[in-house]
Each structure stands twice: as structure tokens, then as C-alpha cells.
Amino acid sequence: MPITRREFVKGGVAAFTVSFAAPEFLSDLAVAQGQSRRNLVVLYLSGGNDALSTLIPYTDPQYYARRTALAIPAATVLQIGTDSSGRPLGLNPRLVGLRTIYNAGRLAIIQRTGYPNSSRSHFQGTDIWSTADPSSPQGPGWLGRYLDMLPSPVDPLTAWSTVRETPRTLLARTVGVPSIPDPVQYAFASPNPNTPDAPLGRQSATRIASHLPVDKPHLAFVNATSQAAFATLDRVAEVTTYVPTAAYPNNGLGQALRTVAGAMVRGIGTRVFWVQTGGFDTHAGQNTNIANGSYNTLMNTLNASLLAFYTDLLNQGLLNDTLLLQFSEFGRRVSENGSAGTDHGAAGLMFAMGGGVRGGLYGTAADLRAGADNPTLENNGNDVRHETDFRSVYATVIDRWLGADSTVVLGQNFRGGPGFLA
């Protein structure tokens, strides 16, 4: 059975409503909790990014043998040196901006991240990465559990999802995370605008939303969602006037990152952001070698959006306070399929960007030779085997960036992973 938010909410909404902060205290809370200036931005590439087309093992003959249509010619990759095993690697030719950030020492790339018995299901895989619990990927997410550990009551703008649905990663038991894809749309209309009935309507709607019946947790959940909307409207409106210092591309990811930068600059109290971009489920027509092929479009979007965000943060003096962490639910199979695409695989790659990042290449590339005896591959040599458990990356972020205890958040000790944070 797919594990859904519903099952969580069944057990969780009652608790969820208890410590919801009342609107009148929010401005104080935002100030009080603003002591930590550190921001975390989680970037999810949805669909399962083909890591071998992002970071290219351009000297591995098997890469070219197993990907006759999709392999990117060695001459065009953006060389960024060798990993600790001596394997030369290069970025996708479209990632020119990321190479600039890499050369500035502000981008860490962690190869072969994953977990044992990797799920090839989008939904289960995403739930596993979200909960950091492969054996039982349900309930709150890893950042939701972090939010639950903050001193209560928690400002409802502490976290911000830039997609419509709250991702499981941010699902918490005691904190409702607002979803604000577009701050301009995040407003309360009235059928009687510019009359006394408009504020009167908002007042009555707020009163109705304050009803949180314990015997109807489903209604309490929806009303608490409305309450959180009313409590966050006015601060979010401040972000709509943000004028960035860099040109963000006019796509979903670029505009989401522009909004995130605006929220940081305006200082509205948000510390954890979720951004997402899709289209990585490239079963067919991945076309890495066609100018406007689908994978190139994905890389262009990623590159232009992240470069603008990096530049804007640098100009605003916020780079040192910001960490961006990227993941995807799985990597893809080593061999291409007959549709100029790749099917669901296992280990992928993560990267981290920001002023506190110790840039470089972490982990070692897989040897792509097919064969059940190849220890860097799994599933009869079809898929990349993980080397770094993704939970050890989370542990580093929790301990060294968020200042919380990773063994509590993750329920186990995953310390000792790659040292990508200074």
C-alpha cells in the first residue's frame, strides 16, 4: 500500500492542533526565534535524477558502451578534477554556473548516496528519503521531526513549502508548515471589497477557523490550516515587493528561489524552505545530446536558477547563513533503454551549496562494468550501489548546521559521513 499523509494525519492531527501558536504572539515569536540566522533550503529533483548525466565519469569506457545514445562526449563535459579514487569527473555541459560555484569552493558533490535495498518506486522512494526511515517510511519527515523539537509554540512561518502540497519531509506532529507557491496569490479576498464588511468577514472567518473540535480531528486539521493562513498572510505579503539583485529565470524553480531569497532578505522569520523541480523521470527522450533535449532543459533550469540564487545571496550578504541541500528519490539504471531514456535505478547523488560548505567531490564513482561481481553496482550490474548512506548527510546537516542532535532526529547514530560542512 502506498503510505499516505492521510494515515499520518489520522494519528497526528489531534496532537497537531494542540500547540498551534495564537496569532497575536507571532510577531514576538518571530523575533525570539530569529536568534539563529541560519537558513536551510531543501531542493528536491522529482522523478529520480539520472546522476550519471549530472556528474559524468567521462573516462569510464563502460559509460560509453552502455549508453550509446545518451553518453555525453568527454570533450564537452565540464571537468572538475578527480575524486578520491582518482576517477576524473565532469559536470553536465549545461551546468556552467554550478562549475563557477564549485570553483569558488561553495559546492560539495556527494556521489553514490542512497541506502541498502533501494526502492525503485517513486512514491516509496520519496517517502524513504523524506522520513529517513527505509524500514517504515511513514509519519513525520526528518525536518518535521526537527521542527517538532523546537521550543513550543512554534511560529507557523518557521518553515515554508514553495509547492502546493506540504512535502512529507516537512510534515511535523506539532507544527503546520504553510504552502506558499506564489506570495501574490496568498491573500484573503472579499465579495465586499473596500467596505467595512471586508475586515468584518476576515474577522468572522478567523473566528470560525479557531474552532478546533477534539472529537473531529479532521475538521480541526482543516480549521488549523485556515488559522495558519490567517496568521501568516500579512508577513508573506511583505515578500511580494522584493526586488532581487540577480536575474532569476522565469521558470518554477527560479521563481521559487527568488521568493525564498525575498523571504530571507525581508527577515520574516522563516528558516527552513522547500523547493522542488520536476521532470526527472526520464524514461524516454532523455536526449542528453540534442540541443533542446529534455535532460538539457532540466539542467538549464537547474543551472540558471541556482546561479541566480547564489549570486543574489552573495550580494545580499546571506550566503554564509544559507545552506542548500539537493536530493532525488533514486538514480537511474546504468544502461540506457530503447527509448533514449533510462529506467528507475538505485543510488544517486546529492549536493550542498552555501557559504558554510567545504566544496569538492565526496565519495567515489562507481565502476560501470556490468556483472554481478562488481561491488560498486547492484541488481546484477544494472544499478549503482550506494556508498554513502543519505542519512549520514542528513546527520551532518542536523548536527552542524541546524544545531540539533541528529541521533534524536534520525533515531540512530549516522554521524561520521562526508565532512562537507566547515
Partner: protein, 483 residues
């Protein structure tokens, strides 16, 4: 209407408008079970809803350059919404929406791989709107809405939109495409965690050659399913679960010419799989009875048994659910989170559809998280609490405001006999909107809104302001988000 009929029409339909109520009275329902029969036996009623598009007395559509629902996706969305509001066969549209979520197929990928016109046609064309008479996916879902699930699976496996969406069109012998085979097992039938990776490989080989053809020439070209024998992998395929009633787990090697039978055998097997019936029963239970509390295991078991004993027929499963004592139990009323499309259509029916263009509901629906023909992925929408975030809740409240603004005149006229006191006005609005019982504090908030700044009996201007404001508050309230 009685409360149980209101409940039936919220769940088995999209609510009931004032006109619907009059029509049902004219048909002279003898009671609940005759109303259930009316909804279920829709094949006796004409499928003529499209004839009323553009006529006065119905919700509007917006198509300045001509209405082209088989080539412009925004028009296809409008047509479906129009059908949900006005069809005489609302359960058919309701089930089509259920299956659209189950076999979730998104326009944008198809449009990206082909083009906007072909993608719209593949998703929404009626046979008469396609040069080859091929049904768009929605028409196929409507046709099989209460039909046979196994037949629906075959139709979906051969559906041009699905062949593009899950890449079956490029499933060739030399390099099998796993996408469709995986989702057939994981999402369409048995469920996640019930099969092995080897089943995915074998399933992909089974469907090799289930491709897409493009017969015809010029403007008469169209897309259709083809079994491409030359691309079929003729070898035997072995699964971890039984394929045949004998218990055999292997589809035998077959000549290429008869290799299409492989796919039919696998579809039979996943339809017959012991986990498929219970999974469908649970989804239908959550859809029709209650998705908030733990399901009733006895009823789930019974509905699953009906699935097998009636040879995968959907209609008897739904009939059993609608006629169950659980369905009529008031404890199950308002225990389903309204999908955005259900919320919008119910609001249109209850507040008033005439004078509103369904085109103006499309952007709000997207903001609420449900753009028709654009599910987020093949897993469909995240239902239940998944619909609700602060942003999507504001979109619901703001749609309520938009609709109340649009219907101010009609609302005022209907409210005129109830303008004597604020109590009468609030009662009128709650009754019209089939609202669940409000808590004392929420009722007080509505009353205070009705009272403040107005004198009663209310003047026309005051009445228009207050009734629109009250409709906004009720339709935008948490209580109204449940059906």
C-alpha cells in the same frame, strides 16, 4: 430534501442544485433506495449533457474563438466541469473522476512529446471528434465508469494517452520499457511491495510490441493502439505470483503473431490477484463511505468478494457500498475531504451556476491543487488531508468569494423572503448550502457578521452585501470542505 438524500447527492453526485431538487421531486423518488437506483442505473438516461453547453439557464463556458474541447485543453477542462455540474448521470462523472485519479495521466507530458492538439484529443476527444473514431482517455473512463475492471485495464493498456504517458509506445523487444508494467502492478492493481524487480522486467517484456500507430494521411491522421508483432519478445516470462488459475507463474513462449496474448494474460493475472480486490474495495470505501476513520473490515471484505464473484464488475461493488447501512449512518456524513473539483462543483450547484463561466474556476482549481488532466504524477493526487495547505485553503476561500461576488444578485433575490431578521438570513444560507451543523462559536461568528452594520428587515443593498458575505464565510469555512 431529507438529510440522507443530501448526503447521497454529495457523495454519489456533486451535490444538488435548486433545479436538481425540483427535477428529483418531479421524478417522484419513493425514497433513498430509488434515488440510489436513479444514480446507478444511469444507462437508462440519455448521455446528452453536452447538448446544453452554451444554452441559457446553465453555467457558462468561455471560448471566444469557438469551443474546441477536443483540441484545446482549457476547453476540455471546461467541458468536463460543465458535465459535472449539469449531467443527468452525475455518478458517471463522479466515477470518471475517481478513475482519472486512479489511472492518473497528465496532459503536459503528452503535449511535450507530441503537441497540444494531439494531447487534448488523446485525453478528451469523443469518438466523433477523432478522425479515426478513437476515444480520448476520459471517454474511455466514462464508458467503463461502472463497467468491468479487467476490461478497463485492457482499454487503459491500449489507450493512446497511456501509451505516451508511461512510454509503452517505445517498448521494444531489444530494450524493454519498464514504466507501464511497474505502474500496472504497483498503482493500478496489486499495490506497492507486492512484487519483485524481476516481475517488472518480465512485465516489460510481456508488453513489448504494445505500441502506438499513426494511420491515415494529412488532417485525417490519428493515433491508435497497434500490436507490433515484430517488436514482441517471444520468450517465456516468469513471475513471482501466479499468472494462470493452475497456479503457473510462467507465460509460455509464443509465436510473435499471437504474442499479444501475453499482455492479456498478465492483465487477467493482476486483475485476479488476491490483493487487487481488497485494494479497490478500500479505495471505493474511502471514496464513498468514510476516509477519516478506520474502515469497516467486514464491508471491505464483502466488497472485495463481490469484485471476484462478479467477475471484476465495478457496479455491484458501488451498489453494495451505497446501499450499505454504513453509507446511511449519520456518523459517516461529512467524513470525506472534498476534492477541489468536488468542492467547486458542489459550490456552483448550491450557490448557483447560472451566470458563472466554468472557465473562471480553472485557475482557482489549479491553486487548490487539482488541475483536471494534470495530476502531479502517476500516483494521482494526494487525497484527504493532502489537499489542504494554507495556500490551497486560501484558494478555496477565495473561490468562495469569487462565486459569491458573481452570484450576488441571484443570492439576494433568493434571500429576499428571509431578510426579516439576521437569524432568518443565516438559517436560509446554511440550509441552501447543505452545511453540517456548525459549532456554537462558529454560528455566533456568522450571526455577528450578519448583524453588524445592517438593520433588519435588510435593505436591498444590505441584503446583497450580507448574503454574499455569509455565503463566502460558509463556503470558505473548514466545515464546507467535507462532503
Amino acid at each position: 430534501m431529507n438529510e440522507d438524500l443530501d448526503h447521497l447527492f454529495r457523495r454519489g453526485a456533486f451535490g444538488a442544485s435548486q433545479q436538481d431538487v425540483a427535477e428529483y421531486a418531479r421524478l417522484g423518488f419513493l425514497g433513498f433506495s430509488s434515488a440510489v437506483a436513479h444514480l446507478l442505473d444511469y444507462a437508462r438516461l440519455p448521455d446528452d449533457v453536452d447538448d446544453f453547453i452554451g444554452r441559457p439557464g446553465y453555467t457558462g463556458i468561455t471560448a471566444p474563438g469557438g469551443f474546441l474541447p477536443a483540441s484545446i485543453i482549457g476547453h476540455a477542462r471546461q467541458r468536463w466541469l460543465f458535465r459535472m455540474v449539469h449531467s443527468r448521470r452525475p455518478l458517471q462523472e463522479k466515477m470518471a473522476l475517481f478513475w482519472h485519479n486512479h489511472f492518473a495521466t497528465a496532459y503536459s507530458k503528452i503535449a511535450g512529446e507530441l503537441n497540444a492538439t494531439e494531447a487534448t484529443r488523446m485525453l478528451a476527444a469523443k469518438p466523433s471528434e477523432d478522425p479515426g473514431g478513437v476515444k480520448g482517455q476520459l471517454e474511455l473512463l466514462r464508458e467503463h465508469a461502472l463497467g468491468n475492471f479487467r476490461d478497463l485495464l485492457v482499454a487503459i493498456a491500449q489507450d493512446p494517452a497511456m501509451l505516451v504517458w508511461l512510454d509503452g509506445r517505445s517498448n521494444f523487444r531489444a530494450q524493454p520499457q519498464e514504466n507501464f508494467a511497474r505502474e500496472l502492478m504497483e498503482l493500478f492493481t496489486m499495490g506497492v511491495g507486492t512484487f519483485a524487480e524481476t516481475d517488472v522486467y518480465a512485465g516489460a517484456r510481456v508488453f513489448t510490441g504494445w505500441n502506438l500507430a499513426r494511420p491515415g494521411t494529412g488532417a485525417a491522421q490519428y493515433y491508435a493502439f497497434i500490436y507490433n508483432a515484430g517488436q514482441h519478445d517471444t520468450g517465456a516470462k516468469t513471475f513471482t505470483f501466479p499468472i494462470y488459475p493452475s497456479g503457473s507463474t510462467t507465460i509460455p513462449a509464443r509465436a510473435a503473431a499471437s504474442g499479444m496474448q501475453d499482455g492479456l494474460d498478465l492483465i487477467n493475472a493482476v486483475a485476479a490477484h488476491p490483493l487487487t480486490g481488497p485494494r479497490l474495495a478500500r479505495k471505493l470505501y474511502a471514496f464513498f463511505i468514510n476516509e477519516v476513520d478506520n474502515p469497516d473490515p467486514a464491508l471491505i471484505t464483502e466488497v472485495a468478494q463481490i469484485y471476484y464473484s462478479r467477475n471484476y464488475a465495478i457496479e455491484p461493488m458501488v451498489r453494495r457500498l451505497l446501499l450499505s447501512s454504513q453509507f446511511r449512518d449519520p456518523a459517516n456524513y461529512y467524513k470525506r475531504y472534498a476534492w477541489p473539483a468536488e468542492f467547486v462543483v458542489r459550490a456552483l450547484k448550491e450557490v448557483g451556476p447560472v451566470g458563472f463561466s466554468v472557465n473562471d474556476a480553472l485557475t482557482p482549481l489549479a491553486n487548490m491543487g487539482q488541475q483536471l488532466f494534470e495530476p502531479p504524477d502517476v500516483n494521482g493526487w494526494e487525497l484527504g488531508p493532502g489537499w489542504f495547505s494554507t495556500g490551497s485553503m486560501l484558494a478555496r476561500m477565495n473561490f468562495a468569494s469569487q462565486l459569491a461576488t458573481n452570484q450576488k444578485f441571484n443570492l439576494r433575490e433568493a434571500a429576499r423572503p428571509h431578510a426579516a431578521t439576521p437569524e432568518a438570513l443565516v438559517t436560509h444560507v446554511l440550509d441552501r448550502l447543505t452545511a453540517q451543523e456548525y459549532s456554537g462559536s462558529s454560528q455566533a461568528a456568522l450571526m455577528d457578521y450578519a448583524r453588524t452594520g445592517a438593520s433588519y428587515p435588510a435593505s436591498d443593498a444590505q441584503l446583497a452585501t450580507k448574503v454574499a458575505g455569509l455565503v463566502h464565510l460558509v463556503v470558505g469555512s473548514g466545515d464546507y470542505q467535507f462532503i
